[in-house]
Amino acid sequence: MRPHEWLARDAHARQRYAAAVPLAAALRIALTVAAPARAAMRLPWQDALAGPGARGALAVLLDSACGAAVMCALDEPRAFATLSLRMEYPASVPAGRALRARARCLHLDAEIAHVTAVARAGSTVVARARGTFALVPGREPLHRYGPRV
């Protein structure tokens, strides 16, 4: 079973995936969709997103979503780290709405992954990201297959 299959079929696995990252858990970020080389996440509205606060939260959401897309492109769980992240903010974030992110892994080889992601509030694109991730051989993966609940 590949990571995207495991995450797609088991809601508890998706829950554990997000819960394994303390900042994602603190913001109540949820992994909502897992598919081959693709992932979607949801960040519920909270007061910390008001005004300029939304940008930082979007960086966390899109970095997390990009990481999940890398996971969903792998043959098995492996350790990886963000090498670079570029954020673009085409529109301000309307108050009161959850933010939804979709990420797609564009390239994966034995050493690096390139990922693109977009965040929307409703139908409005509020942020785009490009991320490069480095696979880290010899390091324990952050996410592992757990027992099915």
Partner: protein, 140 residues
């Protein structure tokens, strides 16, 4: 040693206080030596991205970098209308007790500012992240 003026400090504090996500992360402002302000992200459990390494989340460092630029510009009396884009390179695992961001204006124009930010934990010459941010400025 040249100190940051009281007016500049007050403007910078107000800019930081206006960002509720910076507050959630726990970012504070400190005078970092000669005529310089630093934004500091203390290591706390909720900002961790990788609990195996106890490393700060990459998105939190991106937020720290964008915030450090806004604080620097505010200290200079320049108000940011919006952030156009930011680019962050992650240079080392972000482990340590606190992460200090020092911002430097590469170009401060009338409409656009480009700010470079370096983040380190134990020593400035060992940065954990470096970034640059393009800000659109509010007309004076």
């Amino acid at each position: 040693m040249a100190r940051v003026s009281e007016g500049a400090l007050a403007r910078a504090r107000a800019a930081l206080a206006g960002d509720p996500f910076a507050a959630l992360l726990g970012i504070v402002m400190e005078e970092g030596g000669e005529d310089a302000l630093e934004c500091v992200l203390p290591m706390r459990a909720h900002v961790v991205g990788n609990p195996h390494l106890r490393a700060v989340h990459g998105g939190a460092l991106a937020a720290l970098i964008e915030t450090a630029g806004i604080v620097l510009l505010a200290a200079r009396g320049v108000a940011v209308a919006r952030v156009a884009d930011s680019t962050v390179d992650y240079l080392r695992p972000a482990v340590g007790e606190a992460f200090r961001a020092r911002a430097q204006a590469v170009r401060l124009g009338r409409r656009v500012a480009n700010v470079a930010v370096r983040v380190w934990s134990d020593a400035p010459e060992r940065p954990v992240a470096a970034g640059h941010v393009n800000y659109l400025l509010r007309a004076p």
